[in-house]
Amino acid sequence: MVVREKHTSVGLAVELCGVPLKTPLIPASGTLSREALGEIEGVYGAMLPKTTTPVARDGNPPPRVAETPAGMVNSIGLQNPGIERFLQGLDEFDLGVPIFISVAGDTVAEFASLCEVLVGDNRVSAVELNLSCPNVECGGLAFCAGPASVEEVVTACRAAVPNKPILAKLTNEGVVENARAAESSGADGLTVMNTIPALTVDARARKVLVRGGLSGPAIKPVALRAVYDVSGVVSVPVVGSGGVVSGTDVAEFMLVGATAVQVGTASFVRDPHEICDEFTSYLKENGLSAAELTGALRSVRPATGDRGQ
C-alpha cells in the first residue's frame, strides 16, 4: 500500500529549516526576473529574487556575460534598486510559496542592517546571505573568504533576524571551513555553492572579455563535491547549487546531501518545468520521495575514498 502510494502520488515536498517546500527546487538568486514569473508556476518550492543591497547599484558596465564550454561567465555586479524599492515590488514574487530574500553588503554592518529591515516583514520566510562580495573594509580582499569574516557576518545577522531562518551562501574556496564557521555562528542552513571565479579572453581583440563567475553544467562536479564534503561535517541542511540542468542533476545533489536544490543558469536555456518533470519521473521510477533522497549516499563511503590526486 505504501509502495503503491509512492508510485501514484510522488512526494516532492521537503522541509528546509522548518519551512515546508512543495518541491525541493528554488531559483538561484539573480536568475529569475519578474518578467519570467509567468513561466514558472508550480515548479519552485520557494521564491528567491535577485540579491538586494542597502542602496541601489548600477552594476558593472557591459560586456557582462560570455559563453564558455558548457557554461557562462557573468559579471553583473549586483545591479539592484536597493532594499527599499526592492521590497516595494516584492508582492509580485508572491506565487503562493515561501519567499526567501538574498542580501549582500560590503560590510558586516551593511549585512546586519539588511536583516534588520527584513526582520519585521512577514512576507519573508528566510534570508540568504550572499557571502561573496568584494570587501571594502579589507582593501579589496574577498569579503567572507575566510571563516573569521563568515563568522562575523553570520553572527551579526543572526542577532538582527532571530525569528527567520538564515542560509549562508558560500563560495567553493574554503567551503568546509566556512561552512563550519557559518553553522557555529548560528546559520540555519547553507547554500553550496556560488559561481566560481573565472575569466574569458578575446584573443582576437587582445582584451579581457568578462572577469566574473562561472556557472552552468561546467561547474556541477565541483558543486557536487562541495555539497558532499560540507554535508558530511555540518548538521544544518544544505541547499545544493551549481550547474543543475536536469532532473537527474537535482537527484544527484540530494543524494550527496542537499535538502533542496537551486536552479540558476539552466533556467535561461530550459523551461524549469522540464527539470521538475524529470525529477518527478526519477522519483517515480525509483519509488522514492524527494525527502528520502537527501544524504542517501552520505552513509556510503565511496570505494575510492578521498585518495584523490
Binding site: 526576473s33 557573468n74 545591479q79 552552468g216 535561461f268
Partner: protein
C-alpha cells in the same frame, strides 16, 4: 525559458549571411522583436550552452525568418540544423506611427535584418521610406538585393558608396523618423548624425544570456545613470534614452 522545436522550412545563402525560415503560427511578431534560437538537440548538446538572439527578418503570419552570420559554434550549428529551437517573440520592437512623414531605415551588416519586416509594416501603413545599408564588403552586401531601391555602402568600396552607411545617406534632418540597427559604434554615429534624437530609434546588438530579463547581462547605459536590459526594455530604444 520555454523553447519550441520547429523544422527549418527553407535555408538560403545570401553572400556572407544565411536566411532561415520556419513555421511560426503561435504568436504575432512585431518589427524589431527577436528570438533566442539554437540548433535542436538539447540536452545532448550542452556546449554551446546558451541560445543566441536574432532579430526577426520577416514574418507573414505563418512563416518567420531569421538572418544570421556564422560567427561561432552556436551559429555554425544553427546553419546546419534541420530542426531548431526558438522562443516566442521577445522584447520591444520599433514604435511605428502612420503620421511620421518620410522614414529612413539604416542598417549595418547583419543589423539589416529587422529592416525587412519594418519596411513591410511601413508599406502597409503607407509610410514612405528610404533604406540605407552599410556592409564590410561586397560579399556581405549580397543581402541588399532583398531591399530593392536601397542605397548601399561598403567599407572597402567593393560595392556601392565607399564608406559607412552614413556616407550613403546624406542629411537625415528631413526625415520624420529614423530607424537604425547595427553594431553599437554605428548606432552611436547615427545618434550623432540625426538632428532630433527623439525621432530616432535604435535597435541595439548586445551579448545576451537568457533573453527574458533574468540575467541582466545585456544591458545598455541610459541617460540619468545606470543600465537597462536590451532584452526587456529593448532591443529597440529611443535614441535619446541611450548614453553613447
Amino acid at each position: 525559458m520555454k523553447f519550441y522545436s520547429v523544422k527549418v522550412e527553407e535555408r538560403e545563402e545570401l553572400g556572407s549571411y544565411t536566411l532561415l525560415r520556419y513555421r511560426w503560427p503561435q504568436a504575432p511578431v512585431e518589427p524589431g522583436q527577436f528570438v533566442m534560437a539554437r540548433a535542436a538537440g538539447y540536452p545532448a548538446t550542452l556546449d554551446p550552452f546558451l541560445a543566441r538572439p536574432f532579430s526577426f527578418y520577416d514574418y507573414d503570419g505563418e512563416v518567420a525568418s531569421l538572418l544570421f552570420e556564422v560567427r561561432g559554434r552556436g551559429t555554425a550549428l544553427l546553419d546546419l540544423a534541420s530542426t531548431i529551437e526558438v522562443t516566442a517573440p521577445l522584447g520591444k520592437g520599433f514604435r511605428i506611427g502612420s503620421d511620421l512623414g518620410r522614414a529612413a531605415l539604416l542598417g549595418g551588416g547583419i543589423g539589416v535584418a529587422p529592416l525587412k519586416i519594418l519596411g513591410r509594416y511601413l508599406d502597409a501603413l503607407g509610410v514612405h521610406h528610404d533604406v540605407y545599408l552599410g556592409f564590410a564588403d561586397a560579399k556581405s552586401a549580397v543581402v541588399a538585393r532583398e531591399f530593392p531601391g536601397a542605397d548601399v555602402a561598403t567599407m572597402n568600396g567593393s560595392a556601392g558608396t565607399h564608406g559607412t552607411v552614413l556616407d550613403a545617406t546624406g542629411t537625415l534632418e528631413d526625415y520624420g523618423a529614423i530607424y537604425a540597427c547595427g553594431p553599437n559604434p554605428m548606432l552611436a554615429a547615427v545618434k550623432l548624425a540625426v538632428g532630433n534624437e527623439s525621432l530616432c530609434q535604435l535597435s541595439v546588438e548586445e551579448r545576451m544570456g537568457c533573453g527574458n530579463g533574468s540575467c541582466n547581462g545585456c544591458v545598455v547605459p541610459v541617460r540619468g545613470g545606470g543600465y537597462i536590459r536590451s532584452c526587456i526594455e529593448g532591443p529597440v530604444f529611443p535614441a535619446d534614452v541611450l548614453v553613447w
